[in-house]
């Protein structure tokens, strides 16, 4: 069975996740082997997802952990204080 390019595009995401049924995967695979446009779309999508997941994108700001720990320590201490001395009503 043959399949046209537009239908192959619908399967790109599941193809990358390897979640296609074996027979569908084979049809898509056959198309990709003979279609340079669809295989470029698949390769570029995979490449972009790998780059996106890289730790260098969205780096933690300098001092993030220190500021987080300081804030938590402050709030935790305030919470304890609050439990010892219930606010006056």
């Amino acid at each position: 069975m043959n399949i046209d390019c537009k239908h192959v595009w619908d399967y790109i995401s599941d193809y990358l996740d390897d979640s296609l049924l074996p027979e569908t995967r084979e049809i898509v695979q056959r198309h990709l082997e003979s279609c340079e446009i669809c295989s470029a779309i698949l390769d570029s999508t995979r490449n972009i997802l790998i780059l996106t997941a890289d730790d260098r994108v969205f780096e933690l700001p300098t001092g993030f952990s220190d500021r987080l720990h300081a804030r938590l320590a402050r709030e935790i201490a305030a919470g304890r204080e609050g439990r010892r001395k219930p606010p006056e009503s």
Partner: protein, 209 residues
Amino acid sequence: MNPADAGCQTRIEARMISAVLAGDTEQYYALIKPYERAVYRIALSFVKNESEAEDVAQEAFLKAFRDLASFRGASRFSTWLISITLNEARRRLRRQSSLHMESLDEPRDNGTRISPALLRDWREIPSEALERREVRALLEEAIDRLSPIYREVLVLRDIEEMSIEETSVALSISPSSVKVRLHRARMMLQKGLAPKLKAATSRKRRWFQ
């Protein structure tokens, strides 16, 4: 992570959680350490600037600390923490959306097929390209431009590498919705980014537009 490692980590985390609940609050820092980056990244994918994302992240960690006693271990600690982060980020976004009119609902184009960028050849862009600020900025902007419902799925699945199942639990949507949204998010990224990345990483000098 393989299942044996995940099981081991769950046991270690359960011990830390008990210690925190018993009053050893220092253990909380160790418990959350592996997730600081994930929580920040999720926050940053919702709000528009770094300082606000940091604030959302702090709020999420604080809320998780206060609610720790209600964590029953039905899901992984990371999944639970990420749901809290998503709620915090959405709350912030809703507050802003009255200003920016950014809708949290399904975008209207939902259902139409997204045509990818057609390229005849794709030369693999190595991860070293990320050393360039320009390339990182292209990626960050492309994710930024996605509607929230697509962005959240993409961030959880492709950046945080959660499974379809975990993503579905964290977002309270069905696994099939996760797949549909993920497909659209990935196609939108390819469409928006492939030509730009190709141009930015080609050796030829580009002229000013």
